[in-house]
């Protein structure tokens, strides 16, 4: 059932608007040089951070589609009746969300880094940092989606909740993409791991609480 849930969510995202976060990511990467000017040195310095801001906002885009439709349609209730714990459902949704946005984002980071004038060394560091950090972003997005599902103006509320919570990941992710070195990458990995491990429990509790 878990595998079927992941496959279903991936299929729905690809059939829907999986390209949208990636398009948004590339749009942000395109706009940064226009905003800060054509200074190649400056662009290379801020490039890693710009990619991270783009990744963060791209992960946020589909947040309203992660939990709320399944809650409204009674799908989450049916999973519970099939003996699936809410935490397992949340973990499956994190996996599916990561599969639908992260690999495409990593691919898009290649042209994105070219737009920002990053060299191949910076690009590889950014790719590693994004690969390590995106599971944490996906986990955070699902947890916040579960917390805000069914609330009025859930999308805006999710943004307000998610962005501050993503700051530690952003700090160390951007540092690992730049000159932060391996210690920044380790800290980013630790935060990403903690978010990935904790988010299913937060999302599971939120789904259960929504039934009372």
């Amino acid at each position: 059932m878990i595998r079927a849930l992941i496959a279903r969510d991936v299929r729905r995202a690809i059939g829907g608007a999986a390209w949208l976060p990636v398009g948004f990511f590339l749009l942000v990467a395109t706009l940064v040089p226009f905003a800060v000017g054509p200074d190649a040195v400056l662009l290379a310095r801020i490039g890693g951070g710009a990619l991270w801001i783009a990744a963060l906002t791209a992960a946020l885009l589909p947040i309203e589609r992660l939990i709320e439709p399944d809650m409204a349609e009674g799908v989450l209730d049916q999973f519970a009746l099939h003996g699936l714990a809410e935490e397992s459902v949340a973990a499956a949704k994190i996996t599916a969300h990561w599969l639908t946005f992260a690999p495409l984002l990593l691919l898009a980071a290649v042209p994105g880094s070219a737009l920002l004038g990053l060299n191949s060394h910076s690009l590889s560091r950014s790719l590693i940092a994004l690969a390590v950090g995106t599971p944490g972003l996906a986990a955070l997005a699902v947890a916040v989606a579960a917390l805000t599902a069914g609330l009025p103006r859930a999308g805006a509320l999710a943004g307000i909740l998610l962005l501050p919570l993503a700051v530690p990941l952003l700090i160390f992710g951007a540092a690992a993409s730049g000159d932060g070195g391996s210690s920044a990458l380790l800290l980013e990995g630790a935060i990403s791991l903690a978010l990935t491990a904790g988010a299913p429990f937060i999302a599971g509790a939120a789904i259960r609480a929504s039934r009372t």
């Binding site: 279903r8 349609e73 799908v75 009746l81």
Partner: protein
């Protein structure tokens, strides 16, 4: 014989309002209980409590493997009906036939009418193979053919040792025990 559903001294309060208190209930194989009562009397809450989707404030609920059909379709709207039903259970063809849905097998769920969607939720329950069926307003949106088919599949389910707990304002065919809530 072990009951398929048992409530023991169950009290449920929702939104600060007491819906029922000290409720004892037992549903064995072949039995069916029809919940009635005015709007807001707690019929749907009792069904969700029986399903394990709500928790009793006091008391115990024991249940066997069950299936629930309520107002929620719980089917992927973009998929053809047969494929959408197969997400939840195997052997959906017989259940679809029972509810008269076979001609709609390849129609996307989003194109179903309200009555057809209700039949689809009932087919999901039939296909589940669960012994205990929980049906919340199962007659809503059904035409006379749909009602007849529902009565037939309920009778067949009970004859095979299954039990049904249904909440409905309208009478359902066959012999039912009755419980009126909100008195």
């Amino acid at each position: 014989m072990r009951p398929l559903l048992r409530f023991e001294n169950v009290t449920l309060r929702r939104g600060g309002r007491l819906l029922f208190e000290g409720l004892d209930l037992k549903l064995g194989p072949g039995e069916a209980l029809h919940l009635t009562g005015r709007n807001g009397s707690g019929k749907s809450s009792l069904i969700r409590l029986a399903a394990g989707l709500l928790r009793a404030e006091v008391g115990q609920v024991e249940r066997t493997k069950l299936a629930l059909a309520d107002d929620h379709l719980a089917l992927d709207r973009e998929l053809p009906l047969r494929r959408a039903l197969r997400f939840w259970a195997d052997g959906v063809d017989k259940a679809m036939e029972g509810m008269g849905l076979t001609p709609l097998a390849d129609v996307p769920v989003r194109l179903l009418s309200a009555g057809q969607a209700k039949r689809a939720t009932l087919a999901r329950v039939v296909a589940s193979g669960a012994h205990l069926w929980l049906l919340d307003e199962p007659l809503n949106g059904l035409d006379s053919d749909g009602v007849e088919r529902l009565n037939t599949i309920i009778a067949r389910h009970r004859a095979s040792g299954g039990a049904v707990l249904a909440a409905s304002h309208a009478p359902i065919g066959g012999e039912w025990a009755r419980l009126e809530l909100g008195q």
